[in-house]
C-alpha cells in the first residue's frame, strides 16, 4: 500500500462528511472544524466568527444542521408513542405542528431533548442530539408504528435571521409568509421535495429545511443564491453557541448530562431542574418517568436552570484593579464555574457568553430553587490573570434575546426602530 493511502485509512474513519460537505468545506477557508455527532461540522468559515454573528442578527445565515439524529415514525399510534416516551402530551397534536420536547428515563432523569414534527396523518419525525431510535423502539412495543432511523439519509439546513423570510420567499413564495412559529410544511424547491419547519436554535426568525441527501447540494446553492442580495452568509457552530445562549436554550452535554452518560446521580437532571416545567403534562396516561416526576413535584424541585447577567460595572472594576480593560472574545465559554451567594457556593454556571448584540455578559446557571427568582443577587467566579475572583451577577428572566419577529406571522422583516 502506498504511504498516502495507508495514512488515509487512518484518517478516513471518523468523523464523516455530511451531504452539504462539498459546499461547506469549500467555503470554510478557516479549516476550523469540529466533530458533531460523528460528522464534520464547521466552527466558523472565516478567520473569526464575528462576521457570521452579525449576519445572523442583522441579515440571515445558513447552517448545516445535518448531524442531528432523526427518526421517522409512521403509523396511527405515533401520537401515543411520543406521549408515552416524552414528557409532553401529543394526543391532540395536529398535522403540520412541531414541538420541542424532552424525554426521561424511568427515574425522571433527562436523557435528551429535541423536536417532534408531524407531517401529515401518518408521518412524524423526532430529532435529537443523541441516537433515539433504540429508546423509541423499546417503548413502541404493542403500538402500530414503524420506525426508521433517517439520521444519515436526511440533510438539514438552518436558515436563520431577520431576513430568513425574505430569502425563503424567493424560493417558495407565499409559504414563507403563511408558515407559523413551530409549524411544518412540505413543499418543493427547484426539483426537490423539502420539508420546511419554522424552528431553529438561534432565538431569531428562522426556518429549518429538511431534504434527502441527494438534494442537499442543490438546496444549498438555491438558498445561497436567494440570500446573496441581503447579505446572507454561511454560519458555523461557534456562532450558534452564542446565539443559543442569548436565546436561553440549553445544550445537551453542557447544561445537563444525559442520564445515559451520568456516572453519579448528582450529574443527572430532571425536566423541572432544567426549568422545563411548561412542557411537562403529568395529568394523563403514564409516560416514562412520570411517577418520579410526580414525586418530585410533591417533594419540591431542588434546583433550577436560570439566566444570569454578570454585572458589567463590577466586572470592569475587577479588571481595572489589574490595569486591564474588559475584553471578551466572541465565543461561548462552556467551562463550568461556581456560583455563590454571600461567599458560599450554591450552584454553577454552565455556559457564559458576551452578547455583542445586547451588550450584556450572560450565563446559564443552576441554582437552588430559592435563589432562582429574577433579581436574586449572586456571585459568579471570574478568573483574572490566573487568580480566582468573584463578580456580582443577577438572576434575569430567560430568554435574554426574544425579538417579536421570532414568532410573528406573517413573518415580517424586522427593520430597526425608526
Amino acid at each position: 500500500m502506498e504511504v498516502e493511502a495507508w495514512f488515509r485509512t487512518l484518517a478516513d474513519t471518523m468523523p464523516v462528511p455530511t451531504a452539504f460537505a462539498a459546499r461547506t468545506h469549500a467555503l470554510a477557508t478557516s479549516l476550523a472544524f469540529k466533530e458533531w455527532a460523528g460528522c464534520h461540522a464547521v466552527r466558523h468559515y472565516g478567520a473569526y466568527p464575528d462576521r457570521e454573528y452579525y449576519a445572523l442578527r442583522t441579515a440571515a445565515t445558513v447552517m448545516d444542521a445535518t448531524p442531528l439524529y432523526k427518526v421517522d415514525v409512521r403509523g396511527p399510534d405515533a401520537a401515543r408513542l411520543f406521549s408515552r416516551v416524552t414528557v409532553r402530551d401529543f394526543t391532540d397534536f395536529a398535522p403540520g405542528r412541531v414541538a420541542y420536547t424532552t424525554w426521561c428515563d424511568d427515574r425522571g432523569k433527562v436523557m435528551d431533548d429535541g423536536t417532534v414534527m408531524r407531517f401529515d396523518d401518518e408521518r412524524w419525525r423526532l430529532t435529537s442530539a443523541e441516537p433515539a431510535y433504540g429508546w423509541l423502539a423499546k417503548h413502541a412495543r404493542g403500538l402500530d408504528v414503524e420506525l426508521c432511523d433517517v439520521s444519515r439519509e436526511v440533510a438539514a439546513l438552518a436558515l436563520q435571521g431577520p431576513y430568513a423570510r425574505d430569502v425563503l420567499a424567493r424560493l417558495v413564495g407565499s409559504v414563507a409568509d403563511e408558515l407559523r412559529y413551530f409549524r411544518a410544511r412540505e413543499t418543493r424547491v427547484g426539483g426537490s421535495d423539502v420539508l420546511i419547519t419554522r424552528t431553529g436554535y438561534t432565538g431569531d426568525l428562522g426556518y429549518e429545511l429538511w431534504v434527502e441527501n441527494a438534494d442537499a447540494p442543490d438546496l444549498w446553492d438555491a438558498v445561497l443564491e436567494a440570500g446573496r442580495p441581503v447579505g446572507l452568509l454561511p454560519m458555523g457552530l461557534d456562532v450558534l453557541d452564542i446565539a443559543r445562549v442569548e436565546a436561553g436554550y440549553m445544550l445537551h452535554g453542557v447544561e445537563y448530562t444525559s442520564a445515559r452518560d451520568a456516572f453519579i446521580p448528582r450529574q443527572e437532571s430532571t425536566p423541572y431542574e432544567l426549568s422545563l416545567d411548561w412542557m411537562v403534562t403529568l395529568e394523563r396516561e403514564p409516560f416514562v418517568g412520570r411517577a418520579a416526576l410526580v414525586a418530585e413535584q410533591r417533594r419540591g424541585v431542588a434546583k433550577r436552570l436560570v439566566g444570569l447577567e454578570i454585572d458589567w460595572d463590577a466586572y470592569e472594576a475587577l479588571l481595572e484593579g489589574y490595569g486591564l480593560p474588559p475584553a471578551l472574545a466572541t465565543a461561548t465559554c462552556r467551562d463550568g464555574v461556581p456560583v455563590f451567594r454571600r461567599g458560599k457556593q450554591i450552584g454553577y454556571a454552565t455556559s457564559r457568553t458576551w452578547s455583542p448584540l445586547l451588550k450584556r455578559y450572560l450565563a446559564l446557571a443552576h441554582v437552588p430553587d430559592g435563589d432562582a427568582q429574577p433579581g436574586a443577587e449572586l456571585e459568579i467566579e471570574v478568573t483574572v490573570e490566573y487568580e480566582r475572583r468573584r463578580c456580582t451577577a443577577r438572576v434575569v428572566p430567560l430568554p435574554f434575546f426574544d425579538p417579536p419577529r421570532k414568532k410573528t406571522t406573517p413573518a415580517l422583516t424586522a427593520a430597526p426602530a425608526r
Binding site: Y54, V230, A327, P356, P416
Partner: protein, 537 residues
C-alpha cells in the same frame, strides 16, 4: 397642551435626547423640542431616496459610551451596533492595503509595503489602547477643574495624576508627544510606509481646519483611536438602520422614562429673566416654561442665537467669539445600482469596513493647500463606508448606499460661505471623479446623489460654520476649556441654562457623554468613579 416642565431640552440630537433620557429617568418632567421633522440632529437616518436610507451626516459609531448604553438599556430600545471589519486603502498605482481585525492578515498586508512596519504595527495599537484606557475616565466625567481647591476636586485630580504617574517613562513620553506633535510627526516616529501613515494620519484632522502636519493633530488622532466597542479600543461600528437608530433608541428610552418629545417644534428664543432661564418661545409664538433649560445645540447657536448677546457678560461673549468652528468637511451620500469594484482589488470582502482615499501624505497636504486658499480640495480625503453590505435594511436587495465623508470643504470659501450653493454640484463631482479613478464604471452605477456642503450642514442641521463637532476638537478647545474656560461643566452664565451638546466636554462624535454628563451634573449626582461632578457652580 402642557406648558410647564421641570426641564426643556432644545434640540433633539443624540446628546439632547441623552440628557432628556437621564433627566426623565431621574423622575424629571422633560420636554424635548426638535426643529426638524426627524430626530437625531447630525446622528440621523433619512430615506432620502425611496428604498435608500442614508446616515445623512455622521455615519459611524465608536465613542458612544458603554455606560450610557447600559444605563439607558439602548439595545432594548432598538440599538444594534455592527463593528466595521477592516480599513481599506486603494492606491492609484494598483496596489492596496487593508487592515483587518485579524492581526495575522494585517501583518501580511503591511509587510507587502514594509516588513518593519508590519512588525511594529501591533505595538502602536497597544500603546494607543493604553493611552485610551488612561484618557477614558476623562471623557467619562465632567471636565476636571484645575483651578478648584475643593477636596473632591483635588481628590479627582490626584487620582488622575496617579494614573499618569504610574505609567512607565516611555509611556509618559509618548503621551506628551501625543499632546504636542502633528499626526504625521508622531507616525513618522513609528512607521516608514506612506501607505500606512497616510490613512492613519487623517484621524488627526477630522472635523478640524488643520493639516496632517499641523501641531496638535496627534491628539485628535487619539480621540479617534479611543473608539470603543465591547471594551475593545479602536473599534468602529455601524448602527443598524443608520446612525439615526442611535438617536431613535435614546429617544425611545427617554419616552419610556416619561419624556415628551416634539418634532417640527422650532425654538425662536430662550426666555431669560433676571439672569435666569425660564423657558422657551417657539417660532409659532408658543411660550413654554421650565425650571431648567438645556441646549443640545452648539454654543454659538445657543448663546448668540437663542439667548442674545445683550443678556450675556461681555467677557463670556468675547471668549465665545474666539471659540473656533471653521467647518472643513462635507458629505456625499450615494445610492448605487451595484457594489463598486475597485480596480486595484476586486471583490467585496475588504469593503465591509471603511475605505480611505488617502494615498499619500503629499496628497493630503495638497488637499489642505486647496482649503487654505479658500476652495474645496480638488482631490479630497474621502472616508467611504458601504453600510448596505452588512445592513440590508438601508437599501433595496442588491443595491447599495455609499457614504462619503469629504475633507477639505472649507466653510469659508474665497468668495464667502454663501458661494457654496453655486459650488455644491462641482464639489459632488470632485468626489465622484476622485472615486471614479479607483472604481471603473463608478459614475454609471450612481442612481442618486445627495451632496452636503458645510453651508448645508449649517443651514439644515444648525451646525455653526458646518463644524461637525460643535467646535473644533483641538487641544485648546477641550476639557476645561470647552467651550469657554470657567463654563466647561455644562452650566452657563445664565442660571438654569445648560449646555449638553458636542460643544461641551468631552466633545463631538456620537458619544452621548456631553448630554449624559450634563444631566448628571444637573441632578447633582456623582458623575463618575474617576472625578466627582461639582454640580453647577
Amino acid at each position: 397642551m402642557k406648558t410647564k416642565y421641570d426641564a426643556i431640552v432644545v434640540g433633539g440630537g443624540h446628546n439632547g435626547l441623552a440628557c432628556a433620557a437621564y433627566l426623565a429617568k431621574a423622575g424629571k418632567d422633560v420636554l424635548v423640542l426638535e426643529r426638524r421633522h426627524v430626530l437625531g440632529g447630525a446622528a440621523v437616518s433619512e430615506e432620502v431616496f425611496p428604498g435608500f436610507t442614508f446616515s445623512v451626516c455622521s455615519y459611524v459609531v465608536s465613542l458612544l459610551r458603554p455606560w450610557i448604553i447600559r444605563d439607558l438599556e439602548l439595545p432594548r430600545f432598538g440599538l444594534e451596533l455592527i463593528p466595521l471589519e477592516s480599513s481599506f486603502l486603494p492606491l492609484p498605482d494598483g496596489r492596496s492595503l487593508c487592515r483587518w481585525a485579524n492581526a495575522g492578515d494585517t501583518r501580511r498586508e503591511i509587510a507587502a509595503f514594509s516588513a518593519k512596519d508590519a512588525e511594529i504595527f501591533p505595538e502602536f495599537g497597544r500603546a494607543m489602547s493604553k493611552i485610551g484606557q488612561f484618557v477614558k475616565p476623562v471623557i467619562d466625567s465632567p471636565a476636571p477643574d484645575p483651578g478648584s481647591f475643593s477636596p473632591s476636586e483635588l481628590a479627582g485630580l490626584l487620582r488622575l495624576g496617579t494614573r499618569f504617574r504610574d505609567a512607565s517613562a516611555d509611556a509618559m513620553d509618548f503621551r506628551l508627544k501625543l499632546l504636542t506633535m502633528s499626526a504625521v510627526d508622531l507616525l513618522d516616529e513609528w512607521f516608514e510606509s506612506e501607505a500606512l501613515k497616510a490613512p492613519m494620519s487623517v484621524s488627526g484632522i477630522i472635523g478640524t481646519f488643520l493639516g496632517v502636519r499641523s501641531p496638535g493633530t496627534a491628539y485628535v488622532l487619539l480621540h479617534h483611536y479611543m473608539g470603543e466597542i465591547d471594551g475593545a479600543f479602536r473599534s468602529w461600528g455601524f448602527a443598524r438602520g443608520g446612525t439615526g437608530s442611535v438617536s431613535n433608541s435614546i429617544a425611545a428610552a427617554a419616552r419610556h422614562f416619561g419624556a415628551e418629545i416634539r418634532t417640527e417644534a422650532p425654538v425662536a428664543r430662550i426666555v431669560v429673566e433676571g439672569g435666569t432661564a425660564k423657558g422657551v418661545v417657539l417660532q409659532d409664538g408658543t411660550e413654554l416654561r421650565a425650571t431648567d433649560v438645556v441646549s443640545g445645540c452648539d454654543p454659538h447657536r445657543t448663546f448668540l442665537g437663542f439667548v442674545g448677546e445683550e443678556l450675556l457678560p461681555d467677557d463670556f461673549t468675547a471668549q465665545l467669539r474666539r471659540f473656533r468652528y471653521r467647518g472643513s468637511s462635507g458629505k456625499v451620500n450615494l445610492a448605487l445600482d451595484r457594489l463598486p469594484e475597485f480596480a486595484c482589488r476586486p471583490g467585496a470582502d475588504h469593503l465591509r469596513g471603511d475605505i480611505a482615499i488617502a494615498p499619500s501624505i503629499g496628497y493630503l497636504d495638497r488637499a489642505y493647500q486647496d482649503a487654505k486658499a479658500g476652495r474645496f480640495s480638488e482631490r479630497p480625503y474621502i472616508n467611504v463606508v458601504i453600510p448596505s453590505l452588512v445592513d440590508p435594511t438601508v437599501a433595496p436587495p442588491g443595491k447599495h448606499v455609499m457614504s462619503c465623508f469629504v475633507q477639505y470643504a472649507p466653510y469659508e470659501l474665497a468668495d464667502g460661505p454663501a458661494a457654496w450653493p453655486a459650488q455644491r454640484n462641482a464639489f459632488g463631482d470632485a468626489v465622484v471623479d476622485t472615486l471614479a479613478e479607483y472604481i471603473p464604471g463608478f459614475r454609471e452605477s450612481i442612481l442618486h446623489r445627495q451632496v452636503l456642503t458645510p453651508w448645508d450642514l449649517e443651514q439644515e442641521f444648525g451646525l455653526t460654520e458646518g463644524n461637525i463637532f460643535h467646535g473644533e476638537l483641538t487641544l485648546e478647545q477641550l476639557a476645561f476649556q470647552r467651550p469657554v474656560a470657567g463654563f466647561a461643566r455644562y452650566s452657563t452664565p445664565v442660571r438654569h441654562l445648560w449646555l449638553a451638546g458636542s460643544g461641551a466636554h468631552p466633545g463631538g462624535g456620537i458619544m452621548g457623554a456631553p448630554g449624559a454628563l450634563c444631566a448628571k451634573t444637573m441632578l447633582g449626582k456623582r458623575a463618575s468613579a474617576a472625578i466627582t461632578a461639582g454640580g453647577g457652580r
